[in-house]
Symmetry: D2
Subunit: 340 residues, 4 copies
């Protein structure tokens, strides 16, 4: 740890601080610059509250040289993680195994989910997504079909063999998710820092967790949330960039931060996927943003595909039609060949 | 609800949409502008998914004329809410009752919390704050004293009679908080959209909930989170502005959004307080930001006050010393007199 | 124009407003919803100050149905613009003509700029970039070589035939830029709303203007700045996404907003290019972000390539080496083939 | 300057860097931490490009210990600057002299500006504001009355004796501003980094410059822009917080960053004022935000006051009525007494 002292700090206060640090059994080395003094701390710096240090009036800044990311850190684990699905349904994610996760935003009916599942499978998807529990900003909005929706997902899985990805919102549903052998448990952007949930996902299961970046979450926070799961015992985490909240709100719901893909890939061995549907909120932007995500090096994408091709109302929805999706998959495949 | 149609929309698609809306038993009125068609919808518009409508290719925008905030809405409840403490410890919040909530960030020891409690009471505080369960971005950081810390808070309460405000992080601790008669349950910025927790706080208790704005939460989201608690049965919610995440990160931890105070006061009857300590992260900014919050019309403030006046290291910490706090309270009182 | 009236507005005030609007020779149509009144205005709404209307206490919102973008609007000009270089140096931008603009951040010496020019040309670049006038946040920092740097760029152009792209910072240098037949005049992010400069670029020349998005500029503002140039007579504008300012500042200088590419392409016929070097500030992120920009549909890229391959210090700089650039160009070409 | 080396850097590269730095006549001191090496540089570090250093692959971060702010720095000039108006019209700003700047957004007519000038003077204003040249995002919007508006301002000044504050947009108008003895020249948010303009304002005049923070400008950038003026010869700069661009856009135009006031006051000796009218865009928020600005320690405020009390349409406009303003001034005065 390196502590920069403000130039106006009195020698007395600096000595006071050095003594306090030495008392914590740290070795303190002083470097006197032309204008400023710097203290280098050697030893177990966990005993020092970095925020407290920073807030001292004589301290200008504190730099931590130890790694804040441990389990997820690529330095500790240089190879890409490859996650295998736990219930023998085959698909893998990471290390060259591209995840093509597709399906409707919400499960609406047996016909709908089974129809879409078959369509996306035919187009090349290797995972089926679909929401049974929906996080809604308003308590007065539709909250999803719940357990009945999960059952319909199981039926669609049985019909196609596709492993399923669905969101867990409430801790009390975790048992149900495990009993129903949900293949990948998704944690939504509002729960990225719900440490209660994250800890239990670490303790109770080895099922892969698809962890979305927070609504305005930093890259660091996303990794630290992954650490909450991993430090508690479940190393199978998939990170998902899904757009961040910025001042630009006129033409897309969020700003898709594609540089997060290579940045995360350099920091961690975990797979990194992208959700262009929620990021943009506009179906017409999904194909170009999907291809950009692939070019940026993503390990997979999760896109919304909706049925109802006969209903003209769906033309412009956030979701792609199965036909649009099939066209997109062909382009993804060509792109991946070229980039390989 | 008013739906603006894009100028290039075909008449056929507009008719298709009008029929679809009529089928939902809505009255559809068409207004044909010079360049654009607008549809006005009358009836129960809850049956229509606004997001879906917006995403149609022929739709430019959708405006909802119904109120999204219900229980918290000042229109439905023009008078300021006045919240009484449930366990007979006297202090009230709202409607002219100013909340002066002070105490250390974390409970550290019996001596510390009791000492600070007495000091802030002597200075004029009417609530004691102190964290027993601490939300930390990293799983490797100190997570607070937990239940032992709660016990120490009870002792400090017994010694002073001050009602206590402390953060609930985990649902499984709610019973303990209720049994220990915690006077005000604080929900931190990372849990503002933890709907699981919010619902239970609505169902299981009438204890006042101090709800902090999310790390990068909108004013709308804060109110909708209050709705989650209120719609489930607990109308005693206190809103708290605590700084928002912006691009400006060089000199303060967050950007304190004081205009949120008059905006919230115009939208809702709930009390609105301000946390200048977490917003700025710098003790030297706390006094001026506290006074600004009072001038902006806040119903109270929650500030960090730490003991340890003998330790010179604390000069510049995020927390005020008891002496600084006492000086600040005198200024607050003068300010409130003048503004009354 | 559509004006939404607040539900609590008195009938008297609404009538007052309607009269005021009618007096401006607008036809006012009233639509009475269940909860709210809406006014539709037909006629020349330019005579009404939209901001003033919005700020009336009885007005909830105002929607403008007329197009704010005129000259740049794709609706008025559905085909992609193709910009030809004015001085007969051949390269074109837009409508399938991909711009590969490369070169050093700053012109440093004759050897440097001529060496890099030849290297990037050999790798496939069709434009040479290089800064002679550098915008610096601090007045105490190096401000570029100035006119001497321009001369060196002309020499590099003479040696290679590559058209040159360089930044104009000051109005008083415009004559010099025109006399020296600078092929593309770049306007930097700090000058995107320097209307003085934009107007003159519209009046005095037909040379293509490479207009960068502001430091925290919206897509609308970028287009309106293009309008300032176009409305004054110069339709040859190239838009450039170069990263926006967001709360995420730990791993890259800015957040590259690649969804701006398809959004801009849908709104305007002007060419849209991407600057991954300034957006990220990290050479290791430039290749993946360049490929992502191509996949997102950009009409070109502008990247920093620096000489000095012998100096190991340059490994990780923001600039690519000529060799890295050559490798990248090959990938871009393959990608463009596949996406065609 | 302190350079943190990445833990994985090879010794060879570190030696290479040390040699390169020594060759620049810097003294290089090495501090070897447990996990990381740190280099301290002593001497004239201006010869090193900090950005280049940062981008080296072996460098983790670079901290500059020299002061980036020079002329504006409070360390060099501990006393508050007190700015006197240059043309003998009396009012001062800074060091306890509170600036109460009021007037309409735009000059509209002789009657309007003279009427408002008299009203705000009677209420206690000591400066008159009014825009003759208006910066507009769109080239198709009204751009102000121009020189004719300036003339009307002069008449209002003659009628009241109030010094005037008005915006300079274009360099070519500077002579006119100086000839007409404009008392305070305002530089708007879009021109905060128009270095061309800033340099000339430094070279050509000693008239006080009211410099607004950029649309999404940092505190550092605002100070550096002041340096551009001061380093070129004009030390009379007034800084103005006017709201910043954030994700919160539903209820106010910008987010007023009041913590910028005490932060700027600690960093610089220049006066700091606040513009609550442009920050919020809502007249109903102006009084509370004005009082909050005063409580935060501002040296003045600049608010919009509009005539037209007879026209009911103006009730809710961004501007205060003269009567509202007079009420507000009384509160400001009381507040200042209490805070003194």
């Amino acid at each position: 740890m390196v502590v920069m002292i403000r130039s106006e700090a009195s020698q007395e206060k600096i000595e006071h601080l050095k003594k306090w640090l030495s008392d914590k059994e740290l070795i303190v080395r002083e470097f006197q610059g032309q204008e400023q003094c710097v203290l280098g701390l050697i030893g177990n710096t966990n005993c020092v509250d970095k925020d407290m240090l920073k807030s001292l009036d004589i301290v200008e800044s504190v730099s931590d040289m130890t790694e804040t990311f441990k389990a997820s850190n690529r330095k500790m684990h240089p190879e890409d993680s490859v996650l295998e699905m736990p219930y023998g349904r085959g698909a893998m994610i990471g290390g060259g195994n591209f995840a093509l996760i597709a399906g409707p935003c919400s499960v609406e009916s047996r016909e709908q989910i089974t129809f879409v599942a078959k369509e996306v499978q035919a187009a090349g998807a290797n995972f089926l997504r679909g929401g049974a529990f929906k996080p809604r900003t308003s308590p007065y909005d539709f909250q999803g079909m719940g357990s009945a929706g999960l059952e319909l997902l199981l039926e669609a899985r049985a019909a196609t063999g596709l492993p399923i990805v669905t969101e867990l919102m409430y801790l009390h549903n975790l048992d149900e998710f495990l009993q129903k052998e949900i293949d990948v448990i998704q944690i939504g952007a509002r729960n990225t820092q719900n440490y209660d949930l994250l800890k239990e996902l670490g303790k109770c299961t080895k099922v892969p967790i698809l962890l979305k970046r927070g609504l305005a979450g930093t890259i660091k926070e996303l990794l630290m949330s992954a650490e909450y799961i991993m430090a508690n015992g479940n190393e199978n985490v998939i990170l998902c960039e899904r757009g961040i909240r910025t001042y630009e709100q006129d033409y897309a719901r969020n700003t898709l931060d594609l540089s997060a893909v290579p940045i995360l890939k350099s920091l961690t061995h975990l797979p990194v996927i992208v959700d262009p549907s929620h990021a943009t909120g506009r179906a017409d932007l999904v194909p170009s943003m999907t291809l950009a995500a692939v070019a940026a090096g993503a390990d997979g994408i999760i896109v919304e595909v909706h049925n109802d091709p006969a209903n003209a109302l769906c033309d412009g929805a956030q979701s792609l039609t199965p036909a649009n999706f099939a066209t997109l998959v062909k382009k993804i495949e060509k792109l991946r060949e070229v980039l390989a």
